[in-house]
């Protein structure tokens, strides 16, 4: 027997659950503004999620997937991206979308059942939310291949959950990215649950990062409740990809503190005790602790921030609630670039049914 290949998977953390550095922080963390921006984005995301859930509870929004407790992942990822990169989120990365310039009202419109929500005014090339789990991973390699063909120094960043790693699409996309050394970074937002199915029932693999080994690309783990670590590890992967060093997979370890969506009741399948324990590790308190320990953040800052987030979110909610539905005929208007004549009759019929 001879050894044909060997591999290791590393894990990175900078701030532990108590907000204390476990190793010297990366250079960007010396800049207060950078850290504060991460912190603000996480708090805004949490405020936004709370509002969306309450809109749903009061019948003014459809099903919604909160990212409570997972804010560091999308925020850290988006913070590591450049404007010209392309983001391909699943459905729990609103924190990243906001940082990318997607407007809160757009996200609300989407979950409120209005297609306009995916016509982002901001990042025009970013992909809309992807509901069929894992099916956007092949799109990410398509986008990355486009960058490669045009010799653009841009990176596609695709985020999906632990459950998504069981889908062949995700594996196939990583495998293809490996063959062509595409500028794409895959991030597993491992919140340890896929609705009611715990991480351990998705796969016998010790880590999800090692899924990369099958694709011949680097895989690594990061503490997904440590925004600094996510920002750093994903950032390194993105910059490597940008300069032609190929794709990577980053597994961010976090935890879904909320129900799966507003349509879910997690108490049916998981222990409160587990959830309480995980509250001790959540990302916002952790970064706040570090910021205040290092004298970069005080009570007044916090109060101002909370007020600011609340008013931004309220304004977005009002705008959302005031937004009219699309006219029914809108369902024909972007179906094709130009409506085939075979469909004009149906459109007329709908128009008549709508305004009889």
């Amino acid at each position: 027997m001879t050894q044909a290949a060997s591999f290791t998977i590393e894990r990175t953390q900078y701030l532990n659950a108590q907000g204390r550095p476990t190793q010297p922080l990366p250079a960007f963390a010396e800049d207060r503004d950078t850290l504060i921006d991460l912190y603000r984005a996480m708090v805004l995301t949490r405020t936004f999620d709370a509002k969306a859930v309450s809109l749903q509870r009061t019948g003014r929004l459809g099903t919604y997937a909160s990212s409570l407790g997972q804010e560091a992942v999308p925020v850290g990822v988006a913070a590591a991206m450049r404007a010209e990169d392309v983001f391909l989120p699943s459905f729990r990365e609103q924190g990243g979308q906001l940082l990318r310039g997607v407007r809160m009202v757009e996200i609300l419109l989407y979950w409120g059942g209005n297609e306009r929500g995916s016509d982002f005014i901001g990042p025009r090339e970013d992909f809309p939310i992807c509901v069929p789990v894992g099916t956007h991973a092949p799109h990410a390699v398509g986008v990355a291949r486009a960058f490669q063909l045009r010799r653009e120094a841009r990176v596609a960043v695709c985020v999906f959950g632990d459950g998504a790693t069981s889908r062949g699409d995700v594996y196939e996309a990583m495998n293809f990215a490996g063959v062509h050394r595409l500028p794409v970074v895959f991030v597993v937002n491992n919140n340890h649950w896929a609705i009611s199915v715990p991480r351990a029932r998705q796969t016998a693999a010790e880590t999800l990062a090692q899924k990369a080994i099958a694709a011949g690309i680097p895989g690594t783990q990061v503490d997904g409740n440590d925004a600094i670590a996510v920002r750093h590890v994903v950032g390194v992967a993105i910059e490597q990809a940008r300069v032609g060093k190929g794709p990577a997979l980053v597994e961010a370890l976090t935890y879904r503190l909320s129900d799966h969506t507003t349509a879910d009741d997690a108490s049916r399948y998981r222990d409160d005790a587990e959830v309480s324990a995980r509250w001790q590790e959540e990302p916002i308190a952790r970064l706040r602790q570090y910021l205040s320990d290092t004298g970069q953040w005080g009570k007044a800052d916090e109060e101002a921030l909370i007020g600011d987030c609340a008013s931004q979110v309220d304004a977005a909610a009002s705008e959302y609630l005031a937004a009219p539905a699309l006219p029914p005929t809108a369902m024909f208007d972007h179906l094709y670039a130009a409506l085939p004549s075979a469909l004009t009759e149906q459109r007329v019929e709908l128009e008549k049914a709508t305004n009889p």
Binding site: G113, V131, V197, R201, Y269
Partner: protein, 326 residues
């Protein structure tokens, strides 16, 4: 006997089938402790254990192929897709394997599986959660496609589907999952596959439909009845193979037919029914065969879904058109 909902009837039939036959297994996402996103399997894992009620990893293609293997080994897997929008990765296994295993091995191996999926709009669900794509399945050789439209038919047809030795795609109209309720005796009596159900008799016009649309169809029939026009309402129930005999004989009597479905008009199962009438029922037709269907568009998000789906009003208008022919 007690009044139960359609989704409860599904659960009752699953439990009954599992009780009477050890080889019946349930597979899917979140069907175990969580009891399924619509609670169709609620409590079954407690009753039958995790071996028989298995949460799979998140992969529809995988668990469909898994069911093919289990079926070939003599089990009767019942797989659940959370929503029809997630069933497409399974089509490869259905066309290339489930529907042909018996045929290609001349009966040596077979595939007695049931593929369950909630489908259709009307519950303000998110994107990809509201489509009606039953026609894709109704064209695949070697399988059956069944859609129940009431708790009793859900119970009886699901039992029949599970006991059937061939693959069955069983689509559940989720808009009527929780209402109306119906009395059901849990007597293990199955309903006949491959047969339409006559929901209402009438001499003037035939309304052919299935799934949740029977609500609007029956309402339209009642409205017309108040005007003295009697519509015969047929629930197709088995979309493949199609019981054209019942439809032909009804339209033979009424001379008029309106077909109603939620799915996009073009290439929907309504086309096959109309085609069958245009061939074997033409001589009796007094009026054009009209279809009231979803538009040939992407199912819109929830704000517009009610504009997309056939309404009682659209059905009525079409029936009146058809009745207007001399």
């Amino acid at each position: 006997m007690s009044e139960i909902t359609l989704v409860e009837a599904v659960r009752l039939a699953l439990a009954r089938a599992m009780e009477e036959d050890d080889t019946v297994l349930l597979l899917g996402e979140d069907i175990g402790v969580d009891g399924g996103v619509f609670r169709a399997t609620d409590g079954l894992i407690k009753r039958f254990g995790a071996d028989r009620v298995m949460d799979t990893p998140l992969s529809e293609s995988l668990f469909t192929g898994l069911a093919v293997g289990l079926g070939a080994q003599g089990f009767r897997p019942v797989v659940e897709y959370q929503f029809m929008g997630f069933i497409y990765p399974a089509i490869d296994q259905i066309v290339n394997h489930a529907g042909r295993l018996r045929n290609r091995t001349r009966g040596r191996l077979s595939c007695p599986m049931v593929i369950r999926a909630p489908y259709g709009g009307g519950i303000r669900a998110p994107e990809h959660h509201s489509e009606s794509m039953e026609a894709l399945f109704a064209h695949i050789p070697g399988i059956r496609v069944i859609i129940p439209s009431s708790p009793a038919r859900a119970y009886g047809l699901l039992l029949a589907a599970i006991r059937d030795p061939d693959p069955v795609v069983f689509l559940e109209p989720k808009r009527i999952y929780r209402a109306p309720k119906e009395e059901i005796a849990d007597d293990g009596v199955s309903a006949p596959l491959d047969h339409c159900f006559m929901l209402r008799e009438g001499r003037d016009v035939t309304l052919v439909t299935w799934g949740a649309m029977i609500v609007e169809a029956l309402a339209a029939a009642e409205t017309l009845a108040a005007e003295g026009v009697e519509a015969e309402v047929i629930d197709v129930a088995t979309l493949k193979p199609l019981d054209m005999e019942t439809i032909l004989s009804s339209v033979g009597r009424t001379g008029r037919c309106v077909i109603v479905h939620e799915a996009p008009l073009s290439g929907g199962v309504g086309a096959e029914i109309a085609a069958g009438l245009a061939d074997r029922g033409l001589v009796n037709l007094l009026a054009p065969i009209r279809r009231v269907a979803g538009y040939d568009t992407v199912m819109p998000l929830s704000r517009l879904e009610s504009s997309y789906m056939p309404t009682e009003e659209r059905i009525l208008r079409t029936m009146r058109e058809v009745l207007a022919y001399a």
